[in-house]
Symmetry: C2
Subunit: 483 residues, 2 copies
């Protein structure tokens, strides 16, 4: 009797009858899986998508739904922004590190305009309007936002800033709308779908992956894949055991971004076959401080009353620093001129007539917040921030009375997902510990380590899931038929 | 033709003749390997140790050589320190996290007194004298030091402080002396040794590890292990590719602690067989600021002129924070009363009549160091450090003129080694991705994830290598003979 958690691969010789035979089996019907399925069909393969829930969607359908695209998309141009592949590349090499995958990033940037067209051809609508107020989904239908701190230090010194966060045209539910179109495109193209079926392990024959085995309402089912298997089964944010082993800070996330299917099984099934992983410590952490952006006139401090980041950068970078480096002890200090209750209802918990009074209310060490505000104000009087380089337009002295918004874990939501996973080639082949492709095995999306080795911008997860999902599907369709 | 890097396991059926047959094959003749070999012989097994260099030693012979032991050892008692297993356990659970391996730590603490006796019985001499001046090897032969910040915040509030860093009796080369005795004990017990032989891959038969294959002066050699194989082949600090995949901060280390054998091959060979790893992001980083300890009267600041840690803690914790969180931008600020050139010759690079002058010399943002010194001095006047809780005995106001010692990467040596590796049971069995033992495969030392998930104290690496090396050797010797 196998344990439910068992991911040990199974030999084809153990399978007495296949429940279905396809050429390409795609595991998971989210953003990466739907694109892989479409492209595999397009490549001439008979495709079966196996999904553990009752239908398509995955994490993407629950997400903001931003797709990171640039190089001069029609939406960027319509909104008056110039962008080039080179600027996009320079930004990503700086923002997605340390030591990001240069080959994947180059391919991602070169393919970006074509990928925009591909999404439009799948029916995804984009409203050619820019929203300056948020780095997430706007309240309206605007299709373009700054989603990675491109216009803030240090990235504004590395590449010409351009907003690259593209959103499907709907209010607040762009991930859902995007997935509607991607899943429909895969089905319309001719992919078959087996729902309510959780893939448990890979089936191998002479060192080649030739199928999958799983569970459907308590029954074991086996699907043959005569060309290849594409793992697009999500990340591991819903597997606390894996988080403790690989990225313990994320255990403390209070609002995990994903579905229960993000249990790391796709990663582990391939590891059991000798696949290599990377960046397993990396995670994106959303900490929704803005909108409204006027709050950026304030300063973020840690539990010692010290600043730690330029407040005008992408809020996901703030969230990473807050959870990984500040131990989730973070506060936003604002004065009356800049104060508003934010979009989530986060309001000032403490107010003081002076920084001294406020720090006392907050229980910060005596003098700590005073020293920080004094130093900030000293430079802010001339519009400068020599410590963290917040942009001039956001720098002005804080005028008492001042207040503090409690952004610690609990009072504020910390919304993480994992960025680490299987090591893959640009074409989606899963690599073993030597760096060779495992025959018959492909992967994309958060089952893989994508373009971000740690640093992140909103839209890069759906962006690399959809683009490299396409490549993986095409790659699997091009594998010679097994016997 | 196999690539040199190939770690794919080999089927026993492919081996036409064995070059040698033992019951237990130990891979690597360092601290863990010598203890594993001794215990496997003691368990009645015929043992072959396979070492890639010309003789025993490994990283331990090059190291400070501290062994972390407590619970009331004869050395602790002779030096007037009381200690209990409970205090040691509480300290380690607080210091070795986040989320350290509770089962291993409990076993480690319970076994500590016995392990001290075991080392003495192997001929390792300990001088019952305490050295207060360093957390590393003393200049003299003293056998006991504080090696993990036990007497500093926050650990002094968690458990009664006791020094637990034990050193073999010799000046500065205690790792070498320790290894002399451990290697000699294994050979005297009856272990055979094959030197100049690099093990490349594991040999398997029906899912059980039954030997190893490697290279000796260009020839392929195969050694049969009729009971089990013990991987004690070091960590991966000398494999930049693995560092980039798993712990990019360590790539910047300038003085890697280990030998070229620490290339991660032991870890990868087992992973290729489906072994699980954990804590791969973790690394210890030595940053040798003291001795002399009077320097602790100074304050450590980062590139923003901010303090970031209590200066009286273990220097390895300072090093971890400096490299992982402060981007290697660290300076020690001292006044004349506390200044001395440190043991490595690190001297003040800049001096200023005032903090303002010093920060200008250093190129720190105007006002940043001033604010930090002012705040520190304000509390230091009454012996307090409410921000980082440095102990009262080290807290006094800094009196200008003050200077700064450059502790950035380059001017100062950052000496890292890896702490992550294979997941093992307390008995040294290598676990697969489901948590089951891989038949015939054991591991210990830095090939494994030991008692430290990230936090570290000097002596814990040799400590867990030697103790769990013994268990792994005994475990392998107790496996039923293969056919």
């Amino acid at each position: 009797m196998r344990e439910p958690d068992d991911v040990t691969p199974c030999e084809a010789s153990e399978i007495t009858s296949w429940d279905d035979t396809a050429e390409v089996v795609v595991v998971g019907f989210g953003a990466a899986g739907s694109c892989a399925a479409f492209s595999a069909v397009e490549g001439g393969a008979r495709v079966l998508v196996v999904e553990r829930t009752g239908g398509p969607g995955g994490a993407a359908a629950l997400a903001e739904g931003i797709v990171y695209l640039g190089g001069g998309t029609p939406i960027q141009t319509a909104c008056g922004f110039e962008d080039t592949v080179e600027d996009m590349y320079r930004y990503m090499m700086a923002a997605c590190g340390p030591d990001p995958d240069e080959v994947k990033i180059a391919r991602y940037c070169e393919g970006s305009l074509g990928h925009f067209d591909w999404l439009v051809a799948r029916g995804v609508p984009f409203d050619p309007a820019f929203c300056a107020e948020t780095s997430m989904a706007p309240a309206g239908t605007e299709g373009l936002v700054y989603s990675g701190g491109e216009d803030a230090y240090p990235f504004n010194e590395v590449a010409r800033p351009a907003p690259r966060g593209h959103l499907a045209k709907t209010k607040r539910s762009t991930g859902w709308l995007l997935m509607q179109h991607l899943a429909a495109a895969a089905v319309a193209a001719g992919a078959s779908v087996a729902t309510d079926t959780r893939v448990d392990r890979l089936v191998v024959e002479d060192g080649r992956v030739v199928g999958v085995q799983g569970q459907c309402f308590g029954e074991t089912v086996s699907f043959r894949a005569r060309r290849g298997v594409v793992l697009t089964a999500g990340g591991f944010i819903f597997n606390d055991d894996m988080l403790r082993k690989h990225c313990p800070p994320l255990v403390r996330g209070t609002f995990k971004v994903g579905t229960e299917g993000d249990d790391g099984r796709g990663i582990r099934m391939a590891q059991a076959l000798g696949a290599s992983v990377r960046n397993m410590y990396a995670g994106e952490v959303s900490l929704p401080i803005t909108p409204p952006r006027t709050l950026i006139h304030g300063i973020l401090v840690n539990g010692k009353g010290q600043r730690f980041i330029n407040e005008d950068t992408y809020m996901g970078r703030v969230g990473q620093s807050a959870l990984y480096e500040q131990d989730g002890e973070v506060f936003l200090i604002v004065d009356e001129a800049s104060y508003e209750v934010n979009w989530m209802g986060l309001a000032a918990t403490w107010v003081g007539a002076t920084p001294a009074e406020l720090e006392s209310e907050m229980g910060l060490p005596t003098g700590s917040l005073q020293a920080t505000v004094d130093l900030y104000n000293r430079h802010a009087a001339s519009g400068e921030d020599p410590l963290f380089h917040k942009g001039r337009s956001w720098v002005r002295p804080l005028v008492p009375p001042i207040g503090a918004v409690d952004l610690r874990i609990g009072p504020a939501p910390y919304a993480p997902f994992t960025l680490g996973g299987l090591e893959t080639s640009v074409g989606g082949e899963v690599l073993d510990l030597v760096g060779d492709a495992i025959p018959g095995l492909f992967a994309a999306g958060r089952t893989t380590a994508g373009v971000c080795s740690f640093g992140y911008a909103s839209g890069l997860s759906i962006g690399d899931s959809t683009m490299f999902g396409r490549f993986a599907g095409a790659g699997a369709a091009a594998v010679p038929l097994s016997a």
